[in-house]
């Protein structure tokens, strides 16, 4: 179905991959990224669950291997602006958003030397991946200015100040239409195939491992 301007469409369906929850606030990709993380964080507080998050200009997807308690989440105020700032800080911490911002910060600040144009890097021994540097900083120098910069950039560029709050207020006044289509819809398909995904979890690592298997180049039948 196509939602009217007073409605917000939510599609929930099951596939071979797991359980998909598509929400279409129609606020643009940038805002959907943080909204996706926010919703994932809020739902993950209701139950222990792991999400893979994708988005485009129309909406975002939360994908999980287990049932997503969407009705319960809506009742608990999934889009409520209450406690927004805190929840956002948590969702930034739990996803890789700050990590990917840190890549730019690390390059500009000289933590990563990318070599001069047209010349190969000579200082190979000084290379470390930004994600490794991010991990080390987070653990041993959490108040580092470079880390703060990465967090601030997430907040300023991706949340764009008040836009998120306004978008959520708008969403809160809309009529939520929850559908359960039995196959993928034209709306959800482009989001579903997006490979660039965020992750957020509230499950214990050990419990997650128990459900996973080693990725092999050659597929070995079970």
């Amino acid at each position: 179905m196509v939602p009217s301007s007073q409605e917000c469409l939510i599609e929930y369906m099951k596939s071979r991959e797991g359980y998909h929850l598509f929400i279409y606030p129609l606020e643009g990709r940038v805002l959907h990224e943080i909204m996706g993380a926010l919703c994932a964080w809020r739902i993950s507080q209701l139950t222990s669950i792991t999400f893979s998050i994708a988005m485009n200009d129309y909406g975002f997807e939360l994908l999980s291997d287990q049932e997503i308690p969407i009705e319960e989440a809506l009742e608990a105020g999934l889009f409520s602006p209450d406690g927004l700032h805190e929840d956002i800080m948590h969702s930034i911490n739990q996803t890789e958003m700050a990590n990917s911002r840190f890549r730019e910060v690390a390059t500009v600040s000289g933590l990563i030397f990318q070599g001069y144009p047209g010349k190969a890097i000579k200082s190979k021994h000084l290379q470390a991946s930004t994600s490794l540097l991010f991990k080390v900083f987070q653990q041993y120098e959490p108040d580092s200015l470079l880390l703060q910069q990465a967090y601030n950039e997430v907040l300023n560029y991706e949340i764009e100040g008040d836009r998120l709050r306004k978008a959520l207020e708008r969403l809160d006044t809309k009529h939520i239409v929850l559908t359960r289509p039995n196959r993928f819809t034209p709306f959800c398909f482009p989001i579903m195939v997006d490979r660039l995904r965020e992750r957020l979890t509230s499950e214990k690592l050990v419990d997650r491992i128990a459900k996973m298997k080693v990725q092999l180049e050659k597929h070995i039948p079970d």
């Binding site: 291997d65 080390v136 041993y140 120098e141 992750r199 491992i209 459900k211 996973m212 298997k213 080693v214």
Partner: protein, 227 residues
């Protein structure tokens, strides 16, 4: 002593080549029969190395690595410690002084002095006297209980059974709902047992196991068999 080791939290027993081992969640291997602790790829001083080239990396990594090693030794009380290469990251920097006094203490504190053997790796390019000052015995490789201990076997003859380091093995796990995880692991092959990198400031190399290989991932201070 073996009893104490068996109680080590999160560890995993391994029977390999007619020997019993303990895979420790601290990314180290304990060999009860030889009362030996084996670690590889500590890359101590890496933060100092970066710092001396003008890259501001937190220096506390070093202390965490040394504390981990110290508490492991005081808990298991091994007679021997084998470092399978890449102890110190590249050229001399200030952090070596800290390492040197740490290892001197580590050797002399137990009632019976701990024997530390450094098996040289590609990053171990300090002058010999630094290692000797710290109290190490230096070897290129050695054999213990019929098993060769070496840093990187690729450069040598491939035939023998060995325990080695160098590659910082990691395993990639996938699951339903597009879940992915990369974790450090012990890689147990037919003729080779590869240790994960002990140091905190180290990356991972995702390895492709062959048939009949086993992988033990390290997560949340636990060693878990995943293959």
């Amino acid at each position: 002593m073996a009893f104490k080791a068996a109680l080590h939290k999160g560890a995993q027993q391994l029977r390999w080549k007619d020997h019993s081992f303990l895979l420790l969640p601290e990314k180290a291997l304990y060999w009860p029969k030889e009362e030996a602790l084996l670690v590889a790829d500590l890359h101590l001083g890496k933060s100092g190395h970066f710092q001396s080239h003008g890259i501001p990396v937190p220096g506390d990594v070093l202390f965490k690595d040394l504390t981990n090693l110290g508490s492991l030794v005081s808990h298991l009380q091994p007679k021997q410690l084998f470092i399978l290469g890449d102890l110190f990251h590249s050229q001399y920097n200030d952090e070596w002084a800290t390492c040197e006094s740490f290892f001197q203490d580590l050797i002399s504190l137990p009632s019976e002095p701990l024997k530390i053997t450094l098996i040289l790796g590609n990053h171990d390019i300090l002058h010999r006297r630094h290692y000797l000052n710290a109290g190490f015995r230096i070897e290129k490789e050695l054999t213990l209980g019929g098993i060769q201990l070496i840093h990187d076997p690729e450069k040598d003859v491939e035939t023998s059974t060995c325990i080695h380091g160098h590659i910082h093995p990691g395993v990639r796990l996938i699951g339903k709902g597009r879940q992915k995880l990369s974790l450090p692991c012990f890689w147990v092959g037919k003729e080779r047992l590869v240790l994960p990198a002990f140091g905190q400031f180290t990356g991972l190399y995702m390895v492709q196991p062959e048939e009949e290989d086993h992988m033990y991932a390290i997560a949340d201070r636990q060693v878990i068999q995943v293959l």
